[in-house]
């Protein structure tokens, strides 16, 4: 992205260019000073010493951490699949024509969307066993993730369906399709396309949220990172490595989301939907609208 791509600039004039050049020099110097200070601090405290980083070259440690990543992905993938199923069911009930069913689904969704995930995880992990439920930790985590994300996905699906023009449903009805038929053959296939970026976005969030599994001692990446840190007395390095792994995985997924959204906008000239209360999604949605307003895909 060049400077011209920012909305605040046509090309700068001579005075503006001089000013920008001066600001660039100052900013570069300032950032360099900050970087040097940070590195110095790291070095002073012996945090750059080879002893602190060497464990991450050992095969056993690498395997231990990658195993943690594997467990994270395993829980996230299962939770994602189940959440999508649960979310779809909830969304259908939420849109059903029977009012009491609708209210029930709405209450369910609002409850689980409004409660912090960590509370749900603590409940399934520590609360359920007291009622005689006995499952592997993996399932406690998945259960909590599904309870939360199922509600979120339900909202995504509902927003996707609501974003379609009313005429679609009316036309389907006019053709004599039943409610179920028009949903299955007309509404859902169109809505599904608009939901894809939102679903990928939420999947990134879900993957990040899986790290909360460590509070109920699920052997995922963050927990193994902490164990490594305690074992080698290098919490800073261990947690930084864990953060790095998350960043790489999530950047890859975000890139996928962006590509899907761009492709979709090209093909169908429809922006993605916008669902409140989902961090990543708020961003994707707002950007989508912004780009649509600008009349060009400038993402």
């Amino acid at each position: 992205m060049s400077a011209l791509a920012t909305p605040l600039g046509d090309a700068l004039g001579p005075r503006g260019r001089r000013r920008a050049a001066a600001a660039t020099a100052v900013a570069a110097a300032g950032l360099a000073v900050l970087a040097v200070l940070a590195v110095n601090r790291l070095a002073d405290r012996g945090q750059l010493a080879e002893r602190q980083w060497e464990p991450f070259t050992r095969e056993s440690v690498i395997r231990f951490l990658l195993g943690g990543l594997g467990n994270t992905v395993r829980a996230a993938a299962m939770a994602m699949a189940l959440s999508i199923v649960v979310g779809a069911l909830l969304a259908l009930v939420r849109l059903s024509r029977r009012a009491p069913l609708r209210w029930l689904a709405a209450a369910w969704i609002e409850f689980f969307r409004g409660v912090p995930l960590i509370l749900l995880i603590l409940f399934t992990g520590l609360g359920l066993p007291k009622y005689g439920v006995d499952l592997p930790v993996y399932w406690y985590l998945v259960l909590a993730l599904v309870a939360y994300n199922g509600a979120v996905f339900a909202e995504i699906f509902r927003a996707g369906i609501a974003s379609l023009d009313r005429g679609q449903g009316e036309a389907a009805a006019a053709l004599g399709l039943t409610y179920g038929q028009s949903m299955a053959r007309v509404i859902v296939p169109q809505a599904a396309r608009r939901m894809v970026p939102a679903i990928v976005s939420q999947s990134v969030t879900l993957l990040k949220d899986t790290s909360l599994g460590f509070v109920i001692v699920y052997e995922e990446l963050l927990r193994r990172g902490r164990v490594t840190g305690e074992f080698f007395f290098n919490p800073l390095q261990s947690l930084a490595v864990v953060a790095g792994i998350y960043i790489v995985v999530n950047l890859a997924m975000s890139r996928l989301a962006r590509r899907l959204e761009a492709r979709q906008r090209r093909r169908y000239r429809a922006g993605s939907i916008d669902v409140g209360g989902i961090e990543d999604l708020a961003v994707v949605g707002a950007q989508g609208r912004a780009a649509a307003a600008a009349g060009a895909g400038g993402l």
């Binding site: 400077a3 920012t6 909305p7 605040l8 600039g9 046509d10 503006g16 000013r19 920008a20 600001a23 660039t24 900013a27 950032l31 601090r41 790291l42 405290r45 945090q47 609002e110 409850f111 409004g114 409660v115 912090p116 960590i118 509370l119 603590l122 409940f123 520590l126 609360g127 007291k130 009622y131 990040k208 949220d209 909360l212 460590f214 963050l222 902490r226 840190g229 919490p235 800073l236 947690l239 930084a240 864990v242 953060a243 998350y246 960043i247 999530n250 950047l251 409140g276 209360g277 961090e279 990543d280 708020a282 961003v283 949605g285 707002a286 950007q287 609208r289 912004a290 307003a293 600008a294």
Partner: protein, 200 residues
């Protein structure tokens, strides 16, 4: 519950300032600032909040960066939320019609002036709803402060739970308390949105 409110409000205020500054950096004509802003957003946004909290609280102590649990929680929550706010505000800036910035330039305003007096006010009003969403997310995220044993709502529930044999009422209570915070916030945000937001 007071702790939760304090955590949320303090962090959101700080995140709003930092996030807007980062967004300003990212649209500025100064390349190093743009890169620094982008780096900040991508690094922070793609790391789980729990990892950031533990990294700051247990990792940074090794660098002599030591703060009490509550302060640490506020710092990390602000940093985390600021990345999301920056992206939201940037989207808002991009949504402001180009003619506005051009008109500001034509009046002879510098980049800083046109951003501060012309573009940002409109941009912020455009993104009231997404910002509200972030505020609600922050209320829920503040529960992670319990990882640092700041005693907020989730921490209270956790402690009660270890002490009692009947976890369901305890958790329902804590959940209700959070809903008591999130639902009215949602209503308030919708109200503010009706008053100030610009529909595009």
């Amino acid at each position: 519950m007071r702790t939760t409110v304090a955590l949320t409000v303090l962090s959101f205020a700080a995140a709003l300032v930092v996030g807007t500054a980062v967004a300003a950096c990212r649209v500025s004509p100064v390349p190093p600032l743009r890169w620094a802003g982008a780096l900040w957003v991508e690094l922070v946004r793609n790391t789980p909040l729990s990892v950031l909290l533990l990294l700051f609280f247990f990792g940074f102590t090794k660098l002599g960066v030591v703060y009490p649990a509550f302060t640490s929680a506020v710092i990390v929550l602000s940093a985390y939320t600021s990345a999301f706010i920056a992206e939201t505000v940037r989207a808002g800036i991009n949504a402001v019609a180009g003619g506005q910035a051009e008109a500001a330039r034509a009046l002879g305003l510098t980049f800083g002036q046109s951003l501060a007096t012309v573009v940002l006010p409109q941009a912020l009003r455009t993104v009231v709803a997404p910002l509200g969403g972030l505020f609600i997310a922050l209320i829920k995220n503040s529960s992670l402060a319990s990882l640092l044993s700041v005693v907020d709502l989730a921490g209270v529930a956790d402690r009660l739970n270890t002490a009692t044999a009947r976890p369901i009422p305890v958790f329902l209570g804590a959940a209700a308390a959070y809903l008591l915070l999130t639902i009215p916030s949602g209503v308030a945000i919708a109200f503010v949105e009706r008053r100030v937001a610009i529909k595009r």
